[in-house]
């Protein structure tokens, strides 16, 4: 099938043509052009685009990087109130080297939390991640505009529920005094209570997440689907491809770059599996089943204003995240995808 090759390879360099004198980045510079001249050529070619990135870059440097410097307190025993202000206090707090990190790694509770986090991540990846894609395809397959419009509008709504409310609603349906439990009780079956079952907790959390955010998650995929030319479908149909083959060979390839990007970013964020949601239900099942990395850090650091501990944990998490995203990106490349950036 011809359209199978429709995977975009757009935007990659080494597609010269555009501005003839400027060689692409990956192309070895011709020997007669010096490095400096080469640089100036590229600067002239890419100057406008560099300017375009400047506002965002500036905002990120000022509002992200500058305060991130504050994470240096991970190597201290930081008391922000010991001096006139928090910045001065950074220079007056005692340096403790890697002590905060040792504290984290020597705590068995940390490893338990890490394990819960990873299990939950895998569950969410398998049970949650594909659902918005499937829903987007489903909605897209309805031809009546009104069905699509209404379905979308409704599916977005739960995203705007707060976690407190989502959990309250789940409690009223699946709790020990909830609708299901009461119906079962009327029929002589006691003891139904999904909300306090440590064994099911991770599935429960995933289900709550799906309920709240799967509908909202379809929106990016719908945008991607909007960019598929009907000509491609028509051509495929003319070639005799049925509904399923068209989905496989036209629709999915169009979604692939977006799926790959979101997947790579999700993997990078593997250690983030929900915070408020889990904290709110921590006592219903106990920390053994529910403690994840973020709640662990909150419980043992932020809650007690142990800023150094929290910063150290944040650094560990960030390093793991960056590593994972780079690995995931590499794997995306191996599968022929863009991922976040091209190597």
């Amino acid at each position: 099938m011809k359209t199978a090759a429709a995977r975009p390879s757009a935007g990659e360099d080494s597609a010269p043509g555009a501005e003839p004198p400027a060689p692409g980045a990956d192309t070895a510079p011709p020997a007669r052009i010096g490095r400096w001249a080469m640089f100036r050529l590229r600067l002239r070619r890419d100057g406008t685009r560099l300017w375009m990135t400047l506002p965002a870059l500036l905002l990120v440097v000022v509002f992200a990087y500058v305060p991130i410097l504050g994470n240096l307190v991970a190597f201290e025993e930081y008391d922000p109130y010991a001096s006139d202000n928090g910045v001065v206090a950074m220079f007056h707090s005692a340096w403790v080297g890697l002590e905060q990190f040792t504290r984290i790694f020597e705590d068995p509770a940390f490893w338990d939390a890490l394990q819960n986090t990873l299990v939950l991540f895998v569950l969410q990846l398998v049970l949650f991640f594909p659902i918005p894609i499937a829903l987007a395809l489903l909605i897209n397959s309805f031809v009546r505009p009104r069905v699509r419009a209404v379905a979308q509008a409704v599916l977005y709504l739960p995203h705007f529920f707060s976690w407190v409310l989502v959990i309250t609603v789940f409690q009223q349906i699946f709790g020990g005094a909830g609708i299901i439990a009461q119906i079962l009780r009327q029929n002589g079956i006691e003891g139904f209570d999904l909300m306090t079952d440590p064994g099911l907790f991770k599935f429960l959390v995933t289900a709550e997440g799906v309920w709240k955010d799967a509908g909202w998650g379809i929106i990016v995929f719908l945008a991607a689907l909007a960019s598929v030319s009907p000509d491609l479908y028509e051509a495929a149909a003319v070639d005799g491809a049925n509904r399923w083959r068209r989905m496989w060979h036209v629709t999915l390839p169009a979604l692939r770059p977006v799926i790959a990007l979101l997947l790579v970013l999700r993997v990078g964020d593997a250690l983030t599996v929900g915070f408020e949601q889990i904290l709110l239900q921590r006592d219903a099942v106990g920390p053994g089943a529910s403690e994840v990395l973020d709640t662990y850090v909150w419980w043992n650091g932020i809650r007690n204003q142990d800023f150094s501990f929290a910063a150290a944990a944040g650094l560990v998490k960030g390093l793991v995240g960056i590593t994972l995203v780079l690995i995931a990106n590499k794997m995306a490349h191996l599968l022929g995808e863009q991922g976040v950036y091209r190597k």
Partner: protein
Amino acid sequence: MTTTYRAPKMPTSMQRPGPPAAHNRPAWEEPPTKVGLASKGVVLGFAMLAILFPLWIVIVTSLSSKETITKAGGLVLIPREITFVAYRELLSGGQVSRATLVSLGVTLVGTLFSVTVSVLCAYGLSRSGSLWHRGILMTLLTTMFFTAGLIPTYLLVQSLGLTDTYLALILPSAVSVFNILVLRAFFMNVSQEIVDSARIDGAGDWRILWQIVLPLSRAVVAVIALFYAVGYWSAWFNASLYLNDHDMLPLQNVMIQVVQRQEPPTGLGQAVKAGPLSPLAVQMAVMVLAMLPVTVLSPFVQKHFKKGMLTGAVKG
């Protein structure tokens, strides 16, 4: 140079007058099978039901009196009466109209600003051979994984003189790297042939962005605008942190605090009396009001989702 570049013409299939009646299935598409349609209907119906049932509970509770909620011992399933007291409580009070204006203003200005900055940045990074393009990408990406603490962020915003200004509600949260990456992925998906031919004809980057890339990326720009708008509209933490003057607070903060008034903390002794309303009803009303903007905005975004609207984006 005189040539201007426009998005390619609509493909013929779209220009055809649509088939009669409610659907616009193209001629080449086979009619759906009964089984297929039924099963799709069941799945979608189930999903809708799973949402509408809890939504029903929320709306009914928001319209219930304190008495009904007391009898139900929590969320109300079956309405006994309809009362708008919770909404009145939320929407009366001198602060609400002003707070609504603040929220609208911040959302509008913030969204415009964020979308502009993000589109520019995403386009600037959409050619992977570009100078420093990897470095800049990594610089942005890193911030997704390392978060700054509350205190350094607060001290920064304060030292920039932004506390007690509305800029504090916009600038610190203006850029979402995630949104930039999504935009960039879509921009890179725009057919390179169109871009290249424009370039050969001497079009600069500004013109390519404005006349080719943006028109072909309306859907994703609409989505990102929605993301930003929803973010600004529902944000409350920065306001509670950076605004000391409570006369400046946006709507979300005012509503959150109305909820709290119904249930002041104990330990204040008798200093504070509970409000006359069920906190639950007010909470639910806040939730319903929170859903309004997206319900209003959704059609505008969906307008850009029509099938095949953005042809030419994928190389055929």
